[in-house]
């Protein structure tokens, strides 16, 4: 059974170039993290020519090439590129294994002679489609997954290994290609074992007693044995594309540019397998560690980028993110291209609803910020509250322990929402007369001031001075002055 391995060298680099094709010609390196001490994990050919190598620190690389572009490793980009690679393979064979890190395997059985005239024609088509997906893949074909992978990794385009060539090919490869664990790699290094051939030449029993099961597995692999069969991946339930942005995007126009790229890549992947987009789910990572998610149903499934982008733009105009966007993941729910057959005797309508389904509709109607279970926020900010997840089951509320002070009688305040602006005339910095809509009169007596100042590090810091005033109209009100605007409001009336 021939197995093909689709392998993308310098996968982190390829993932970035797939998302930003203009980087393709740049002197580019990908670092594990950001900062001068970050280790480079992938380097473009142009950068290599300047002496920049993987494993260097960013600072060291910059000292060699000051204009080198360094991008951090992006989990979102890697996940998207990996999924795209698997989708590419799945558009050829139903039996595809996603091995991660820019590697997928596909079973070639039954494809040659039926769909493709020869093995070479098949692998050529495979690499061409991968390139359309934005991924410069290499292909290796061998009897086992391991040999196919190593052939793909070591070759420079398409490597087809005949069965009798495999052992000679493997023997010259370095141990690192088998990706041993750190401990075993260290032991092998201490032993001076550098190639698969050297490992294969060691006595099996000696290796087993010293390196344990992992050592035996490596030894067998070094001899070209691969006990792992190809494990097909399940059918994907959604398609995702994501990107981490270099800096926080604050306006819609540049963000729409990013969304367009994501949509184009998504729809290419959907179309390659005959799917249509039926809903979009937008996950935003914002500055200051905030996150936002938006779900947008698509009225009629399709793969047209322009209307999908318009839908996203409209939604974001209505619900602008709360902070600059630093990362985005766009998920598309697939829908079969062929529509379902409708019931001839009943009109199409919603299926039986459940609590969850109803809630989903309400959420879609009101927006996630306006639906849920209210809770008190741990903050001195007046009326600070939050909305948690909707919880239809009322949990038993714990009561506050009785403190001596709590036993003192208190008045209940009826809050006016929103607070009403009023004019307050002061005498020696104390409220003397209040005038406003629905409230007015001379201050007969008052309590206060009470000061609330907080969240000074935020743009919306609060600084309020409260008074409880008994007015000549007979009512007792809570009024406050907002600083630094020096505006007065009535917050509510005491019952």
């Amino acid at each position: 059974m021939p197995v093909a391995c689709l392998y993308v060298p310098d996968f982190p680099l390829a993932a970035w170039i797939r998302a930003q094709p203009e980087l393709g010609e740049a002197r580019l390196a990908i670092a594990r993290t950001s900062g001068a001490q970050a280790e480079l994990v992938a380097v473009s050919a142009a950068a290599r020519q300047r002496g920049v190598l993987p494993g260097m620190r960013a600072a060291q690389a910059w000292s060699l090439d000051p204009s080198l572009l360094i991008r951090p490793l992006s989990p979102a980009l890697l996940a998207s590129a990996q999924a795209a690679l698997a989708d590419c393979a799945a558009s050829f064979s139903p039996c595809v294994e996603d091995a991660g890190d820019g590697v997928v395997y596909l079973d070639l059985q039954g494809l040659i002679g039926t769909l493709f005239p020869s093995l070479r024609a098949l692998v050529t088509a495979l690499t061409q489609r991968a390139a359309r997906f934005g991924l410069p893949a290499r292909v290796g074909v061998a009897r086992t997954k391991l040999a196919a992978r190593l052939a793909a990794r070591q070759g420079d385009g398409v490597t087809l290994l005949a069965p009798h060539e495999e052992s000679e090919f493997l023997a010259a490869l370095p141990i690192a290609v088998l990706q041993p664990s750190e401990a075993v790699a260290a032991t092998l290094q201490r032993w001076g074992i550098a190639t698969l051939g050297q490992l294969a030449a060691l006595p099996a029993a000696g290796v087993g007693s010293r390196l344990g099961p992992e050592g035996v597995a490596l030894w067998r692999q070094a001899r070209g044995e691969d006990p792992h069969p190809l494990v097909p991946r399940p059918q994907p339930v959604f398609f995702e594309e994501g990107i981490d942005l270099d800096y926080g995007v604050e306006s819609l126009e540049p963000f729409a540019f990013v969304l367009r790229g994501l949509l184009e890549r998504l729809t290419t992947r959907l179309a390659a397998q005959g799917w249509l987009c039926s809903a979009l789910h937008l996950r935003l990572r914002l500055a200051m560690r905030q996150r936002e998610e938006h779900t947008l149903p698509v009225a009629w499934p399709h793969n047209e980028v322009k209307p999908l982008l318009a839908l996203l733009r409209f939604h974001l105009e209505q619900h602008p993110p709360q902070a600059p966007i630093e990362g985005v993941v766009l998920r598309a729910l697939p829908h079969p291209a062929r529509p379902l057959q409708l019931d001839l005797f009943r009109s199409a309508g919603p299926t039986a609803t459940t609590w969850g389904a109803t809630l989903t509709q309400v959420l879609a109607l009101c927006g996630p910020q306006r639906c849920g279970t209210p809770g008190v926020l741990a903050s001195h900010r007046p009326q600070a509250h939050c909305l948690g997840a909707f919880d239809p089951i009322q949990t038993a509320r714990t009561t506050a322990p009785a403190t001596p002070v709590a036993s003192f009688p208190v008045l209940a305040l009826r809050h006016w929402r929103p607070p009403r602006p009023v004019e307050v005339f002061c005498d020696r910095d104390r409220p003397d007369f209040v005038r406003g809509e629905g409230v007015g009169g001379r201050v007969v007596s008052y309590a206060g001031p009470w000061r609330l100042q907080g969240e000074w590090w935020q743009a919306d810091a609060y600084d309020r001075t409260y008074y409880d005033v008994h007015l000549s109209d007979g009512g007792i009100y809570r009024v406050y002055r907002e600083e630094p605007a020096n505006q007065w409001f009535v917050e509510g009336v005491y019952d």
């Binding site: 993290t33 950001s34 900062g35 001068a36 001490q37 494993g55 620190r57 600072a59 060291q60 910059w62 000292s63 032991t187 290094q189 201490r190 032993w191 001076g192 074992i193 030449a201 060691l202 006595p203 000696g206 007693s209 010293r210 390196l211 344990g212 200051m288 560690r289 809770g375 008190v376 926020l377 741990a378 903050s379 001195h380 509320r397 714990t398 506050a400 322990p401 403190t403 001596p404 002070v405 003192f408 208190v410 309590a447 206060g448 001031p449 009470w450 000061r451 609330l452 100042q453 907080g454 969240e455 000074w456 590090w457 935020q458 743009a459 001075t465 409260y466």
Partner: protein, 1062 residues
């Protein structure tokens, strides 16, 4: 209406308040307060600084303390702010109260974890006399199973007539409800109320920092802190009138503040500290006993007591007698006597070496009469201060024995270590404040790394210029707050540590003078004050300082005796040993005390020391004082005969003759003042202090006027007077006492002597006491090899934990055997077991060793990799093959090493592995031990380096001045001294020796990252050779990459450890 703030918390409340005691006092004085009470939690940490500042400002400083009660916390109501922890606030009325407070805190700290306090009601029972109690939160949030009524009944019993209910008004309506409740309780129990503002910061602006500190304390961020933060900024020090207005409806609450303040008569001026008495023979006075000991010692030291010696001793004894310090000298003598009896090297340093009495008592080792040192620098009648005697001891176990002796001698409550207040530095401030403000951790980390790590700082090292480099926008509001809070938190106390050697002792109980706390180190007790606080309050300190070099000397002497049959007496080393001085002159001083630094090495060939006094000068010359005062080059020029020796005034010639007309020592400054202005010894010392670190403009002006007047009276005016004043004022700041230099020079000479004559023993002792000094063991080993010492690798059949000396056979050269202590990851217990087993019966084979010693598999592999099993006939790889096979078998667990194996034939499996190459062996050595006895790392790269025209370090001496050269090596020292105007110095080591490279500030900026990170560097530039001092003025730096594997740097600064990455 008069109001006294009875509750001001300072930053010594450790993350609970945001202002230093001095700032509180300054603000209080400005607001018109005449009395203020400090109220820190579970201690009186800030009280001395508060007291000293208050004394200067004319404010009466009361002592208060918030005592945490070890009671169950009240339950937390849902969706509300957490209640405060149970506590009582007490104010000290009198000395009895202070004594009770200190004892109570000490008892509460004794059993509590570090930073906490476990105070129960029973500990308060008998210790409340003299204390006034203010209670508030405890009544509002009573612990479970207690009621306010029961609490008040208990407190009334504990503080009869001294209990007040505390009212506070911070413009918080819930607080007002609490006040009404407290007033109702006060009325019901007939108790008085009192107003406080529970100050946590001096001004409203301090609230932001208070919130930040709160977050640091709770390990949270401002965004998540919620109710933990302050409701408003009202906990600042308010004017008395403002407080009176706040409580205008409760005048009694205000009035009672003054009433309480009047009842509190105690301040720290009334501490009641007394130095312990020395136990004397019956019928003898302390002075007579001291005199007897001094003369007995002097006869041993001097053999013949010349009139000059007698005169000096009598003078000193007279001063000691007048100041009633005989007991103090006897106690220090007693500590030194203990050291002598126990065979522990001990040597006084600092100004004590100016005293002939100290010399006679054996406290110091420098003859002040012979060296004409000035006694007044140490002690004078005018100053009326306690003398300061620092004793250097071998670091480690020996020093600990001396400390434990003092504890035992003066009791667990009679002696303690002084504290060391750990304050926020720029890097720690950036990290903690950044975390609190929720900045991206990577950015904060990068910023912290970008900030200076060298002594020298340029404007680019400051916070603001580095913000953009770390990816932070300086204009963003949150980043602006970040910068502001970092600046505000700098120098605020973070927590309390232990001083390295300062001990204080008291007559009676020290825990009645200052609260004591257990230190993290077992058997140690620490006071709540640092050494400056103790000195300010007149508490006597004896510094028992650990000195690595003393430990080295102490260990080297028996090694020399045992292996070379030579008896070394440090007190009687050959005075002018030519070999030693030749070695010093060519700066061959790696490992030599005080003169091994890069700067010292660069000076030695120019100064060319020929006698002991030259060494004293050498030690003192490379110090901030002479460097900042620009004395170094004039001295060296005069010494080389390139500049005439002149004196500011003829009368100064006797004083400055020895240092060629250039003032180098503090004693010279004192003598100049005495000669030209007629100052007494005490006045001269007063002058030095006025100009010294704690400069006061007022004091400086007054004493300078006296100096000028004195000079004018002696006819010294005009330029000469100005020149003298200038040299005194510029030098006093950083001057170095001659006596101190002489003490250090003794150790420097002794270590240089041992290095010259007994290099194997010296290197062995140095390695055994590492970490110490400037250099990594790898450098020490290579240096020893260059000095002809054969260094043997680690061997499980020969090596002990420590390095040892051995001879292959009698008459063979002495070799240094490396100890197992350098094997990375090897446990000392495992190594000791190995040695024990070996001593019981030698190992027959590797398998025998594995079976008998409980070594972990990674330890065995490490030993195999470094070649420690070579004696069994295995190559490194063969040994690796063997031990990996043996260690993984279940048969060789400890339980199975029984009879069935004892008589079993050891089996040896042939190794299929190829042997290591020389390069692999070197890397394995570095990886496994951080050093190698084989070829230097650079030796393997030499052909590559030769192709690129890189010269060896040794060759530099043969090249011409100004020639363009390339040198390469391991970076063993990186320095950017504060006095070098931004220049950076690198020391590179190759297989032939060391080479020095200098980087200008501009080039340092360009290569900043390389300098910080690269373990191997290639430097090129013109060679500079002046007076035998050789530097490469580096114009270009390149990181030298190893073929494979790469090397990374571990550790900081010049101490580095090399480990391959792959």
């Amino acid at each position: 209406m008069p109001y006294v703030e009875l509750r001001a918390h300072s930053a010594f409340d450790f993350l609970r308040a945001a202002s230093l005691p001095e700032d509180l006092v300054e603000r209080a004085a400005a607001l018109g307060y005449r009395t203020l009470a400090l109220a820190d939690r579970d201690g009186v940490y800030g009280a001395p600084r508060f007291h000293m500042a208050a004394r200067t400002a004319g404010v009466r400083a009361l002592v208060g303390c918030e005592l945490s009660l070890h009671l169950p916390s009240p339950p937390v109501a849902p969706a509300t702010a957490p209640p405060p922890l149970p506590s009582l606030y007490v104010l000290v009325q009198n000395r009895t109260g202070y004594r009770n407070l200190c004892r109570t805190i000490t008892a509460a700290k004794r059993t509590a974890p570090k930073g906490e306090s476990h105070l129960g009601w029973e500990q308060l029972e008998s210790n409340t006399e003299g204390l006034i109690c203010l209670v508030r939160d405890l009544l509002l949030f009573p612990p479970p199973a207690e009621s306010p009524t029961s609490l008040l009944e208990r407190l009334q019993r504990l503080f009869p007539g001294r209990l007040y209910l505390e009212l506070q008004r911070h413009f918080d309506e819930q607080e007002e409800r609490a006040n009404r409740y407290l007033l109702a309780l006060a009325s019901a129990f007939g108790l008085p109320v009192v107003a406080t503002n529970e100050v946590r910061h001096t001004t409203p602006r301090g609230r932001a920092l208070l919130d930040v500190l709160t977050c640091i304390r709770h390990h949270t961020t401002l965004d998540d802190a919620g109710w933990l933060l302050a409701r408003n900024a009202e906990r600042h020090l308010k004017a008395p009138g403002e407080m009176a207005a706040l409580f205008r409806d409760l005048p009694a609450a205000i009035h009672n503040t003054e009433r309480i303040a009047e009842q509190c008569e105690f301040t720290l001026a009334d501490l009641g500290y007394r130095f312990p008495d020395y136990p004397l023979p019956p019928g003898e006075s302390a002075m007579a006993h001291l005199r007897e000991l001094v003369y007995r010692g002097a006869r041993e030291r001097y053999r013949t007591l010349t009139p000059a010696v007698r005169r000096q001793l009598e003078h000193e004894l007279q001063v000691i007698g007048k100041l009633d310090l005989a007991g103090y000298f006897l106690i220090v003598w007693d500590i030194v006597r203990f050291c002598r009896e126990q065979g522990i090297l001990a040597q006084g340093r600092g100004s004590a070496a100016n005293s002939a009495v100290c010399y006679a008592l054996g406290i110091t080792a420098v003859d002040p009469v012979g060296m004409e040192l000035l006694f007044e620098r140490f002690l004078s009648e005018e100053r009326g201060e306690w003398p300061d005697i620092d004793i250097d001891l071998p670091s480690g176990e020996q020093r600990e024995r001396v400390i434990q002796y003092v504890y035992q001698h003066y009791g667990p409550h009679g002696a303690a270590m002084t504290a060391n207040v750990i304050t926020y530095r720029l890097r720690s401030a950036v990290r903690e404040v950044g975390k609190v403000l929720g900045l991206v951790p990577e950015q904060v980390d990068r910023l912290a790394r970008l900030l200076h790590r060298f002594e020298f700082r340029d404007p680019r090292d400051d916070l603001l210029p580095q913000l953009p480099a770390a990816g932070l926008d300086p204009t963003a509001p949150r980043v602006r707050w970040f910068a502001q809070c970092v600046r505000a938190i700098l120098h605020l106390p973070r927590h309390l540590g232990q001083h390295s050697g300062g001990m204080i002792i008291a007559a009676g109980r020290l825990d009645e003078i200052v609260p004591l706390e257990p230190a993290r180190m077992p058997g140690r007790v620490v006071v709540q004050w640092d050494k400056d606080d103790c000195a300010d309050l007149g508490i006597i300190k004896v510094d028992l300082l650990g000195l690595g070099m003393m430990a080295v000397l102490e260990d080297a002497i028996p090694l020399i005796r045992q292996h070379e049959g030579v008896e070394i007496d440090l007190a009687h080393l050959p005075a002018n040993d030519a070999k030693t001085y030749e070695q010093l002159q060519r700066a061959d001083t790696i490992g030599v005390f005080q003169v091994e630094s890069r700067a010292q090495m660069a000076t030695l060939p120019r100064l060319r020391p020929r006698c002991f006094y030259d060494l004293v000068v050498e030690v003192a010359l490379i110090r901030p004082g002479p460097i900042v005062g620009q004395m170094v080059h004039p001295y060296l020029r005069r010494r080389a005969g390139r500049e005439p020796i002149t004196y500011p005034h003829p009368s100064l010639e006797p004083i400055l003759r020895r240092t060629l007309g250039v003032p180098l020592f503090q004693e010279q400054l004192l003598r100049i003042a005495m000669t030209v202005a007629g100052f007494s010894g005490g006045e001269a010392e007063e002058l030095r202090r006025a100009m010294g670190f704690k400069r006061s403009l007022e004091r400086m002006r007054a004493i300078e006027a006296r100096l000028r007047q004195g000079m004018a009276e002696r006819g010294i005016t005009g330029d000469t007077a100005e020149q003298i004043v200038r040299s005194i004022t510029s030098f006093a700041l950083y001057g170095f006492p001659e006596s101190h230099a002489a003490s250090f020079a003794l150790l420097a000479y002794a270590s240089a002597y041992l290095k010259a004559h007994h290099p194997a023993a010296f290197a062995c002792a140095l390695l055994n006491h590492w970490p110490m000094g400037f250099y990594h063991p790898a450098t020490i080993v290579k240096d020893a090899q260059r000095h002809g010492v054969r260094v043997l690798p680690m061997d499980v059949t020969r090596s002990r934990w420590e390095c040892t000396l051995e001879r292959a056979a009698p008459g063979q050269p002495l070799c240094l055997r490396l100890g197992l202590r350098f094997v990375a990851g090897l446990r000392s217990a495992a190594a000791e077991q190995l040695v024990r087993e070996r001593e019981q019966s030698p190992f027959r084979s590797l398998e025998d060793l594995v079976r008998r010693c409980a070594l972990r598999s990674e330890e065995l592999e490490r030993l195999a990799e470094i070649g420690a099993f070579a004696s069994f006939g295995h190559t490194r790889r063969a040994a690796l093959w063997q031990v990996t096979g043996i260690a993984r078998g279940p048969l060789f667990s400890k339980s199975a090493s029984s009879a069935e194996h004892t008589h079993r034939q050891d089996r040896t499996e042939a190794s299929p592995l190829a042997d290591m190459s020389a390069w692999e062996r070197t890397l394995a050595d570095y990886r496994g031990t951080g050093l190698t006895v084989g070829p230097h790392l650079l030796a393997h790269l030499r052909s590559y380096l030769d192709q690129r025209g890189v010269v060896r370090a040794q060759q530099l001496a043969t090249l011409a001045n100004g020639q363009w050269v390339r040198v390469a090596g391991l970076v063993i020292v990186r320095q950017r001294p504060g006095t070098a105007k931004g220049f950076c110095f690198l020391t590179l080591e190759d297989e032939t020796g060391i080479a020095n490279a200098v980087l200008s500030p501009t080039l340092f900026d360009r290569y900043r990252t390389l300098v910080h990170t690269a373990p191997l560097l290639l430097a090129e530039g013109p060679l500079q050779k002046v007076d035998g001092v050789i530097h490469v003025r580096a114009q270009r730096l390149t990181a030298l990459a190893l073929p494979r594997p790469r090397l990374t740097q571990r550790g900081r600064g010049y101490r580095m450890r090399l480990t391959p990455e792959e």
